[in-house]
């Protein structure tokens, strides 16, 4: 590798620059748009230098958008709150259900355990609408249509397999002897689970939780099918916002920025675990 020629180094540099521009440009551009007034946005050619304004964000946060034709109500903060609530609760539920099951799968090879684990995994790869479309009909009968409970339940489709498979791997990495030693010392299985297994798998559980949160947050189709406006998260809400607000591009950009910032921040925070999580433990980062 030491024998790289100057030409090659230049080519590599150019290639990397192009790569960075292609992948970063949309985010940077939207970020810039969100601080521009509509007038600046509509100017051609597009402006790189402009006077930043926070008006778009204030409009979103206050929920009042004043236009020439009057005042428009924006429900975007509601969507943002829905995203926070749905993602957090879904992950909490998935952790509550998934971590004990992951422990059982990792430690006790009981009859049918692999079947259950693989069935759950296969949900990760099955078309979402296959389950969602009949569910809309069921949910209407059960009164779960357009409820947080119904949505959180469906969100388990994303969160549970993820948590189950990642956390199971972390539990399997704890030598069984360590847990045996604690049991032999006179502690119950529950104490062993709480004082030994959970702390030792802690980083893995946290990482799985963060990833599940990101996936839940980014989900679109579940809420599109099962929720109406007041329960919709940002992914669906932003789409509706675009159609309803017409040409308020500055606010739309600001809404997108607010919607993607939480997951981007979490991803940067947890990037060490992302490789492992995204591949369900098949590739160590």
């Amino acid at each position: 590798m030491e024998h790289t020629s100057l030409l090659e180094r230049i080519l590599r540099g150019v290639a990397l620059t192009l790569v960075v521009i292609f992948f970063m440009f949309p985010i940077v551009w939207i970020f810039m748009m969100s601080f521009q007034t509509n007038e600046t946005i509509l100017r051609i050619p597009p402006q790189l230098v402009f006077e930043p304004t926070l008006a778009n964000y204030t409009a979103l946060i206050t929920g009042k958008l004043t236009t020439m034709s009057g005042t428009l109500d924006i429900a975007f903060m509601r969507n943002l709150w829905n995203s926070v609530f749905l993602s957090t609760t879904s992950v909490a539920v998935a952790l509550l259900l998934g971590v004990p099951a992951a422990y059982a799968f990792a430690r006790h090879k009981f009859r049918g355990s692999e079947d259950i684990a693989f069935t759950l995994l296969s949900f990760r790869f099955a078309p979402a609408l296959l389950v969602l479309l009949p569910l809309t009909l069921y949910f209407q009968k059960l009164g779960l249509a357009n409820t947080y409970i119904g949505l959180i339940w469906v969100y388990q489709l994303i969160c549970l397999p993820l948590i189950l498979w990642i956390v199971r791997g972390y539990f399997e990495d704890i030598p069984a002897d360590i847990e045996y030693a604690y049991r032999i010392a006179g502690h119950s299985w529950f104490a062993t689970f709480r004082k030994i297994a959970l702390p030792l798998a802690g980083p893995g559980i946290a990482a799985a939780g963060l990833l599940a949160f990101i996936f839940a947050w980014n989900n679109f189709v579940f809420a599109l099918v099962l929720a109406s406006a007041d329960k919709q998260p940002v992914t669906v809400g932003a789409l509706a916002f675009i159609t309803s607000s017409g040409i308020q591009y500055g606010q739309i950009s600001a809404a997108i920025v607010l919607s993607i910032t939480p997951t981007l921040a979490l991803a940067l925070y947890a990037q060490r675990y992302l490789v492992e999580g995204l591949s369900l433990g098949a590739v160590k980062g």
Partner: protein, 307 residues
């Protein structure tokens, strides 16, 4: 030595037998499992019925009719074609790009690590929101990409709103979102490869192309396979990007499986056809996921071994 009184804990209170314990622990997850299997089987049943939400009274079993109709239904063949085309193009391009970028970033330098973390950002952007971002950028009125296209002579480039370029546009968004996925998997794979074969080849003055095709690629194959199948499984089911960008349009240019099923269900309220479409898509993904899981398990075992 201080005398510690010999004593033993005695079983007391509520105890769960160790044979039952694992079942108790996994029961809630199992119930969720069942709760998801029920609608799945309902879908199977629907797919064998004539069932329109607008005509609930006409609901009855027509057995294979929904499926048989597909053979003579050009819309179905369009769906199949566009789904396979979309999955094929996106995965192939993402694989080539992802491999290329991974190789550019292979050396562990601060800059490379920083760039690889930056590249995670598109992947962590919700695909539906990513589609909206690109929609804004390709807006014919003020979109920066439309402006850039006009600079290179494409005066009236209509991006997603023209049937001839709609596929190109959604593929572009898919590439933007998912190339980093393949990139980080292959980067992890590349960095985990043993260094000896490469050092030996460098010492022997083996040509770089030979090293790439005879050493790098074969050793990377399990990672490439896992990443490709993973993406293929997702891509053939793509909904978010296409729906958020064009709702399957213009016309039926982009009515891939899930979009078509969604429109069938909510616009034409044809539950039977919608379910049959989903079952066919499920059969395809089931086939792919079986190959995938085998390969993935092998890679996972190896990753556990490395840990």
């Amino acid at each position: 030595m201080t005398a510690v009184t010999v004593q033993r804990n005695r079983p007391s209170g509520f105890r769960i037998s160790k044979r039952v314990l694992p079942y108790v622990l996994s029961l809630p997850a199992l119930l969720v499992c069942i709760g998801i299997l029920i609608p799945f089987f309902t879908s199977v049943v629907y797919s064998f019925q004539r069932y329109r939400l607008s005509q609930p009274w006409a609901r009855q079993f027509n057995w294979g009719e929904n499926y048989l109709n597909f053979f003579t239904d050009p819309k179905f063949w369009n769906t199949l074609e566009i789904s396979l085309l979309y999955a094929g193009i996106t995965v192939l391009l993402e694989l080539l790009l992802g491999l290329g970028i991974a190789m550019l970033l292979q050396k562990r330098t601060t800059l490379n690590n920083f760039i690889s973390i930056m590249l995670l950002m598109p992947l962590m952007t919700a695909p539906a929101l990513a589609a909206l971002m690109w929609k804004l950028m390709t807006n014919p009125g003020f979109g920066v990409l439309s402006y850039l296209a006009s600079l290179i002579g494409l005066q009236d480039f209509r991006w997603a709103s023209s049937p001839s370029t709609a596929l190109f546009t959604v593929v572009l968004v898919d590439i933007w979102v998912y190339t980093p996925f393949i990139m980080i998997l292959l980067l992890a794979g590349l960095r985990s490869l043993p260094t000896q074969p490469f050092e030996a080849a460098a010492l022997d003055g083996v040509p770089r192309s030979f090293v790439f095709f005879r050493i790098t690629l074969p050793m990377l194959t399990p990672y490439i396979l896992t990443a490709t199948l993973f993406r293929l499984l997702d891509s053939i089911q793509q909904f978010d990007i296409i729906y958020a960008m064009t709702q399957g349009g213009p016309g039926d240019t982009l009515t891939v499986f899930q979009v078509e099923a969604y429109l069938n269900f909510f616009q034409s309220t044809n539950v039977g056809r919608s379910a049959a479409l989903m079952i066919i898509l499920w059969a395809i993904t089931y086939f792919l996921s079986n190959i995938f899981i085998k390969n993935w398990l092998r890679l996972r075992e190896r990753a556990r071994g490395l840990a």
